[in-house]
């Protein structure tokens, strides 16, 4: 046996042949070492060997023999956090926390020179949630947290309740568990974009040592479903089988192999022989709409016509008359790229049979209840026999509003009777996960001389890929708020969601509205230019106002209305800040051109379809509270916010509220945490449950003391009835004697929906020689109502804006005939520290009358105005309208090169 010293403890262990240090450490249950890529790009697995940081995924395990290995678990000494852990605590330099272990290990190893040059020093660590701002704060020793004072929880920047566990490596994410007898599942993915499976020979795979089972389409229940998670499953087409005999995109699952080790499962996949009949494929949605194009789905799946899965059309006013009245018309086709969420924790699930003889699925999901429903349908189970839950979830952004890893592990566990785990690789994500829908948007806008919009005509073609999950809902969002954001008498729209042999689209932060916002916000600027009107003024003149009908292209009344209105203030903030400047000058030399741009985005807070949440509260024997909410926490900060909301109502500290969430056994039903509903729906349930808790306590106290209810009130950890003060633990004890349990539950639904706004301002420099873009000044103003936790709200916006810059500048899934050619994080480039500009974030001073405690949605929409603001700044700098994302150097340079 070889000897390894890990965090000061000696282990005698033998790595498997070829095993890297990362998996070796995790086999020893050192779960603080995470995986985001397994290829040396993301840094989540960073550990020290003899005090130097390395990506443990690229270090052969045997290399560590006889060396001192330090992981996040070993950084704190004698119970004292390392100063860097402390700094990350005080700055709250994480959101989902998945990157934090690696980030802390890298930062803790830095010398003064490296700290002075963070763009270089932090190259090897990616964070998808924070936009790196809070990480910079930690490095600068900034404290972002406030104290938790009874009765003042709402509106305070309180820390994430799981901070210490996250920063010391104790937090358990989906895959951080060892189970006796665990089997591992891997899938073979189709190399063809469109092919019929003629035969599958699994003999060789079954002969691989360690392989236990191979499953193909012939083994699984032949039930159609959609992977998308929504309250009403009918909004998505039932067009998918767990495993199918037709592959409709390169990357679709063809077979699943279950084995004693991941290595054996992978070897099993490679040993499967599949005979394919390659079919004609179509990748472009416009071509897919042509007569005679290869058809994606046959008789079993209803489509509107051919490959058009659905279309949405509408007109208000008279579009032709609108253009007749216009003095200026802008018309152009814009397009957006296919991008992915890149939550650092990949998808993954573990299924097993418990001692209670029920099935349990531990999964990385934004909607465990909706997943439970789908799993029950697929496997023929009753809901009472299936428990679905999350542990810590390492990011979601819409990517986990999808049931794509749970089904196969449950199926295999039910077949084999042993625990089965499937942890996705980063390549699995890129090939088999979902993406933002690629959309092509033709916009025609008309306005009078004074800037008043007279006509808006929008045509959207959305490439939904091989399956229709989220296809219609994202299309509806694309035809909704970006058009409704402007008052205009004549509007017309036509949208088409089209099947092609591409990787399927899915839900992604911004959800369809992002793509149309890009097109319309660029077009508004172009129209302003034609009319020689300031772009900011153009928006002010046309943006919707309280009292207006919130209408896009449909006559039907909408349930969206203004619970508060802050867009004008947001525009004013961004205008003021850009005018004031931040002192950052463009780089020297003649080659840099400078420009400024703005864009706005509107969000109806919540989906137009059904959404519901429940919350349960109990007073505990020790006088503190317990809150159970179905909502998922994936780094959005919603558990912190829910604790604060309940604490505010009950007049206690947030720490006096224990919380559990996202568990079908232990929490009430929740549709799912997506469409920015964590605050406005689940938060509303928490709010009214806390009010019910308060009323229940006061009513009991009144009966108990014989005092009139109006003379009873809560005061922190006691109830005060007249001049009598009864501690809550004593009250609980009194209740127990009379069988009063101090337990309440409430449900919340979503309607009406309030409206939030975001405005982004950008000043940038572009290098005429190389096409390089540098963001000089980035300003964001958000109308999100009253921030429950200002630090977290700012963090959500930091992350959303950073993601917006990624979409605008560096990220792009490149496909050739349906094959992705850059499925690694070094080639698919989410912003690293050096790519992410600092953004000044401001809140409009609004308090919402619809959302709970005055709050509105804030996680979804921040991304939407970023790409068009960059485009508008680029147009300002160069005089050229770049209408296609992303703005990579060669595209910029190619356009600029043609101009003298």
């Amino acid at each position: 046996m070889s000897r390894y010293e890990i965090n000061g403890h000696l282990f005698a262990a033998e790595p498997k042949p070829g095993q890297c240090l990362r998996t070796f450490l995790r086999d020893l249950e050192v779960f603080g070492v995470k995986k985001g890529c397994d290829a040396g790009d993301c840094g989540a697995c960073t550990v020290w060997i003899d005090g130097k940081p390395f990506h443990s995924c690229l270090v052969p395990a045997f290399r560590a023999e006889g060396r001192k290995v330090t992981t996040i678990e070993g950084l704190a000494s004698s119970g004292e956090m390392h100063p860097v852990q402390k700094a990350f605590h005080d700055a709250q330099a994480f959101q989902c926390g998945y990157c934090a272990a690696g980030m802390v290990m890298t930062v803790a190893s830095m010398g003064a020179n490296q700290k002075a040059d963070l763009p270089h020093a932090l190259k090897g660590n990616l964070c998808r949630c924070t936009g790196y701002r809070s990480i910079t704060d930690a490095l600068n020793g900034k404290c972002n947290i406030e104290s938790d004072v009874a009765g003042k929880a709402c509106g305070a920047s309180l820390p994430n309740p799981f901070t210490d566990d996250i920063l010391t490596g104790k937090a358990r994410y989906t895959m951080d568990v060892a189970m006796p007898g665990m089997l591992h599942l891997k899938v073979l993915r189709s190399p063809h974009a469109h092919a019929r499976i003629v035969g599958i020979d699994r003999t060789a795979a079954l002969a691989v040592p360690g392989v236990v089972a191979v499953y193909t389409w012939e083994d699984v229940p032949r039930r159609l479903y959609s992977t998308a998670l929504h309250e009403d499953h009918l909004v998505d087409p039932d067009d998918t089988y767990m495993l199918d005999n037709v592959a409709r995109f390169a990357g679709q699952r063809v077979a699943a192999v279950v084995a004693e080790s991941e290595g054996a499962a992978e070897a099993g996949c490679r040993a499967i022989h599949v005979e394919y009949e390659v079919l004609p494929a179509v990748f472009d949605p416009v071509e897919a709409m042509e007569p005679g194009a290869p058809l994606l789905h046959d008789k079993d799946v209803l489509t509107k016509e051919g490959n058009v899965y659905c279309d949405l059309k509408g007109e208000i006013g008279n579009i032709a008359r609108g253009f007749e009245e216009a003095h200026a018309i802008h018309e152009l086709t814009y397009s957006t790229s296919r991008v992915q969420h890149v939550h650092l924790e990949t998808h993954g699930s573990i299924a097993w049979r418990g001692e209670d003889n029920r099935w349990h699925v531990r999964t990385s999901s934004q909607g465990p209840f909706a997943a439970q429903k789908k799993l029950c349908y697929l496997m023929g189970l009753k809901a009472r026999d299936l428990h679905v839950f999350t542990e810590r979830v390492g990011g979601g952004f819409g990517g986990k509003q999808e049931m794509i890893s749970e089904d196969l592990v449950l199926f295999a566990a039910m077949k084999l009777g042993r625990p089965v785990k499937w942890e996705w690789t980063r390549e699995d994500e890129f090939l088999g996960g979902t993406t933002r829908h690629q959309m092509t948007t033709h916009v025609k806008l008309g306005a009078r001389k004074d800037g008043t919009l007279t006509a808006m005509d929008v045509r959207v073609v959305s490439n939904t890929g091989a399956y229709g999950n989220h296809g219609s809902e994202t299309l509806a969002a694309a035809m909704g708020s970006p058009i409704a954001a402007y008052r205009c008498d004549n509007k017309r729209g036509a949208g088409y969601a089209v099947y092609t042999n591409m990787v399927p689209g899915g839900g992604f932060r911004g959800y369809g509205a992002s793509q149309t916002t890009f097109a319309i916000e660029c077009a508004i600027d172009e129209l302003a230019r034609l009319l020689a009107i300031d772009p900011m003024e153009m928006r002010r003149r046309n943006v919707v106002r309280p009292g207006d009908n919130i209408e896009s292209i449909w006559q039907e009344p909408s349930d969206a209305s203004f619970g508060s209105y802050g867009i004008l203030e947001c525009l004013e903030i961004v205008e003021r800040e850009l005018a004031k400047g931040n002192g950052v000058a463009k780089p020297g030399g003649d080659h840099w051109a400078e420009g400024t741009g703005v864009a706005l985005a509107m969000l109806e807070c919540g989906p137009p379809t059904e959404h519901r949440s429940g919350a349960e509260m109990r007073l505990l024997a020790d006088g503190t509270y317990h809150l159970a909410v179905g909502s998922s926490e994936m780094g959005n900060g919603i558990t912190t916010a829910h604790k604060q909301m309940a604490a505010a109502v009950l007049g206690v500290r947030a720490t006096d509220i224990a919380i559990i969430n996202a568990d079908t056994d232990r929490t009430p039903y929740d549709t799912g945490t997506f469409a920015s509903t964590g605050t406005v729906v689940a938060g509303k349930a928490v709010h009214i449950a806390a009010e019910a808790m308060r009323d229940d306590i006061l009513a009991f106290a009144s009966r108990h003391t014989g005092m009139d209810p109006v003379q009873c009130r809560l005061e922190n950890d006691a109830v005060v009835c007249g001049d009598k003060r009864i501690p809550l633990d004593a009250l609980h004890a009194a209740g127990a004697k009379t069988d009063h349990h101090f337990a309440v539950s409430r449900k919340a639904y979503l309607s009406p929906r309030t409206i939030a706004f975001n405005v982004q301002g950008v000043r940038l420099a572009v290098h005429r020689v190389t096409g390089e873009i540098r963001i000089l000044h980035s300003v964001h103003a958000a109308d999100i109502g009253r921030p429950i936790n200002p630090m977290q709200c700012r963090g959500q916006l930091d992350g959303a804006v950073a993601m917006g810059y990624g979409w605008a500048l560096t990220e792009n899934m490149v496909h050739e005939a349906g094959h992705m050619v850059n499925p690694q994080l070094r080639n698919y480039r989410i912003p690293a520290y050096a790519d992410t500009p600092h953004t000044d974030i401001f809140f409009a001073d609004t308090v919402d009358s619809i959302g709970p405690l005055g709050a509105k949605s804030q996680g979804e929409c921040g991304i939407n105005p970023v790409a068009p603001a960059v485009a508008n700044a680029l147009a300002d700098a160069t005089g050229i309208r770049f209408a296609h994302l992303p703005f990579t150097p060669d595209r910029i340079f190619a356009e600029l090169a043609e101009k003298p």
Binding site: P17, G18, C20, D38, A39, G40, G43, T46, K52, P53, F54, H55, L58, V59, P60, F62, R63, T106, Q114, P119, H120, A121, K123, G124, N125, P191, A250, G263, R270, G589, H591, V769, T770, G771, E772, L809, T810, V814, E816, H819, V821, N822, P823, Q824, R826, N827, R829, P831, A832, Y833, A834, D835, T888, P889, D890, F893, A894, A897
Partner: protein, 316 residues
């Protein structure tokens, strides 16, 4: 990953001899590229010879006034070396333009020179690639080849060499010291080390089976303004679209090597001779035989403009 056997070599000659005994063996040093490729089963060595214990990790002055860099000197240490920063600025800059700190802490000087291309088709085992599977064809030709070679490529392969460091080494006229399995040593100029793809893109260097790099030697410093300019898709971390390593003397003469445009660092004597006449003349020579594709034709003017910008900076 395929199972393999493993040994630790005690000396360079022993390592080379061990490799000669096992044709399917590979040397492993930092392993940052090899381990990744092994996980993807693009590299499937049956045997690994660990050379990390060979004490080739020092940087020493040579009698000629240059520097002898041990093959195992880590990229971090090389970039930080005071003599390198003072006398060979282009090398230090190129290293820092490369990978992340965690990778540079592992990656070695010799390993950096020998790293494999990042051509996406080389990485995708579903696709044809003459480099990975000789004779299977080249998916990059006619595929997405925005990142690929514009010059020196062949019908069989249009991959580029990904290293930043090698471009600097090329402009510095480094030479490579090796030991062969029988114990003989030789010196190879950096110009000769990497091959153009020709019909055998799977053979990337002139190293013989089992031949081990022991050091890289830099000639005495040549002074001048030393620049490394990398144009890439983002600021933090990406392989070069094009990169320019240049040494410009006060009289305008100098030398230039390009990265990101060919199967090896690209430098031509005829182009160096044009340095006093400016970027257009130099680029004209460098790209005289260029055969860009539709997707990567932008690299020609981009390289020329980047060079112009470097020359302007060098003049101050």
């Amino acid at each position: 990953m395929k199972p393999f056997t493993y040994e630790r070599a005690g000396s360079p000659a022993e390592a080379a001899a061990a490799a000669a005994r096992r044709p399917e063996a590979k040397f492993i040093a930092g392993g940052t590229n090899l381990l990744d490729l092994m996980k993807l089963q693009i590299e499937t060595p049956a045997h690994l010879i660990d050379v990390n214990g060979l004490k080739l990790d020092t940087i020493e002055p040579t009698q000629e006034g240059g520097l002898r860099i041990g093959a195992l000197v880590r990229n971090t240490d090389l970039a930080a070396d005071e003599r390198v920063r003072r006398d060979y600025g282009v090398l230090s800059r190129a290293l820092l333009a490369g990978a992340s700190g965690q990778l540079r802490n592992r990656a070695t000087t010799a390993g950096n020179l020998l790293q494999r291309t990042r051509c996406p088709y080389f990485y995708d085992t579903n696709m044809a690639c003459n480099k990975r599977r000789p004779g299977s064809g080249c998916s990059a030709i006619g595929g997405i080849n925005r990142q690929h070679a514009v010059v020196g490529a062949s019908e069989a392969c249009i991959a580029t060499h990904p290293s930043d460091m090698a471009v600097a080494m090329r402009v510095l006229d480094a030479s490579i010291e090796t030991v062969k399995p029988q114990g003989a040593t030789r010196t190879i100029s950096i110009a000769e080390l990497h091959r153009l793809p020709g019909d055998t893109p799977n053979v990337e260097t002139v190293l013989e089976a089992g031949e081990l790099i022991t050091a890289v030697t830099l000639p005495r410093p040549v002074g001048g303004s030393q620049q490394y300019r990398k144009v890439r898709d983002r600021a933090s971390y990406a392989f070069a679209l094009v990169s320019v390593a240049a040494i410009v003397q006060p009289d305008g003469s100098g030398r230039v090597a390009l990265g990101g445009v060919a199967h090896k660092p690209w430098r031509l004597d005829a182009a160096d001779a044009e340095m006093p006449r400016g970027a257009k003349a130099v680029a004209g020579k460098l790209f005289a035989d260029a055969k860009p594709t539709e997707h990567n034709a932008f690299k020609l003017p981009l390289a020329e403009r980047a060079l112009a910008s470097v020359l302007a900076d060098a003049r101050g």
